[in-house]
């Protein structure tokens, strides 16, 4: 897998995670999904991708602290 392919795959995974984060009402599972999204944000960061300062800022529905 090339780096661009890897980046595309990670971005798609974040889209899936964002949907799940927005729809779960289980605090434990939401925390796990947020951690997973944080790791993927960090992976993009360390592939030289231009992402936001923190993963929450990427959510389409705005900042969710």
């Amino acid at each position: 897998m090339t780096v661009p392919e890897l980046v595309r795959t990670i971005r798609e995974a974040r889209e899936v995670l964002a949907r799940a984060i927005g729809e779960t009402d289980l605090p434990q599972i939401e925390a796990m999904l947020r951690n997973a999204d944080m790791e993927l944000h960090w992976a993009l960061w360390n592939l030289g991708e231009t992402v936001s300062v923190r993963p929450e800022l990427d959510y389409r529905d705005g900042v969710r602290w």
């Binding site: 897998m1 090339t2 780096v3 661009p4 392919e5 890897l6 944080m38 790791e39 960090w42 960061w45 360390n46 592939l47 030289g48 231009t50 936001s52 300062v53 923190r54 993963p55 800022l57 602290w65």
Partner: protein, 468 residues
Amino acid sequence: MTSAVSVQHGGSPQAPSADGFWNHYIETMPRERLDALHLHKIRSLLAYAYDRSPFYRRKLDAAGVAPHEIRTLDDFKRRVPFTDKPDFVHLQREDPPYGTTLALPIELIAHHAETSGTTGVPLQIPYSMYDTVRYGESWAYGYWALGIRPSDSFYFAFNWGNFAGFWSAYWGARRMGCRVISGGGLDTKGHIQAILDKNPTVLICTPTFALRLASVAAEMGVDLSASSIKYTYHAGEPGPTALPAVRRAIERAYGAKAGELLGIAEIDAMAPGCPIGDGVHVNEMTVFAWAIDPDTGAEVRDGEIGELVVTSFANTAQPLINYRTHDLVRPTRTCACGRTWLKLEGAVLGRADFMVTVRGTNVYQAAVENLLAEVPGMSSFYELVLRREKGNDTMTVRCEPVPAVPPDQWSAVGKAAGEHIHAALHVRLDVDVVPPGTLPRYEIKTKRIIDERPPEFRRLLDRTGARA
């Protein structure tokens, strides 16, 4: 995932990552791409800090600069004002614990650390959970470059206080999936016994404590060069990179490879050691660094000595932007190891202010002076004497009581000074009280720091006296 990931810049297939790199793709990224990334991150960070930190909003407004006006790295260097540790300490004292420096709601602060302040009041350092991940990653770059792998096991020979350095070393070891063994609560002999019993392959501690352990082990009849330790890794004070004599002594004592990382508690474990051993590489994923003439603020050219100025992308809880470190460094942009990340030859070569490191704790002359002034019966005349004893740097505060204090109370005044310094700085300094009128009086350029250490145990600029 079954297929290998290519690392060629531009995305075409090529050979997998070289073994000596934690992430070959970004550690060898061309300068133009690194700088383009820095500009993007800086613009994002400025907007983030401006929106969320009252401190930065005031700072940028006062400078007449809006985040969107920064279009080049030169804009950033010229227009965005410097920040410095006292700015943060002052605001934190006004509104504890973090004041207006915070950029996240306090409920998102996951870890708290402290570091010594220039005046004796510690700097409070908040990290979000994500910040601790980013911080630990910087250690992983250094561990991997030295040869440490996930199958290794770490022994942490220190107590877990509020110091950021070795907490982050732990975050890095966890990041790599290594076995972690805590030495918290043990004395020196206890650490040695734990190493013999638990067979760790990596020792984490300050360089001076590594030598202290080896010395005590020898007294116990234990040869640590025959132990399980294969690597030692250090931070907190000048170590194997800055002081070749220390490298030789540690590697001989442990029969191991010694590594060093330059970290700044509030910034990041920002510059892991180069595997060649003659410098450290700034982690350009988490830090943007440049160097200035400390007197004029003008940027110095590559290869010249200047004060390191850093912007951290690791600490989103308390952003640090164009932050003056007062560390004197010689930056270069090429290295035989293949990394394109900015190299600081010899790590930190000296200080632009009056700070020395004693047993891993930064001790500022001004802090000691302020603390002495708070001790009843103590005069304003003092010296800080640095010596090398039994493998450790030591500092003695040589000071005078005021003449009104009778000689039979000098010892009590000295004891009070030692306790006051320990309470504030968390480091024990010897206090030597001398009769009033003993210490030299200066009309100009008062000399407070008396360095009696052998030259090989001083940083380069302290050895050569290049900066008074």
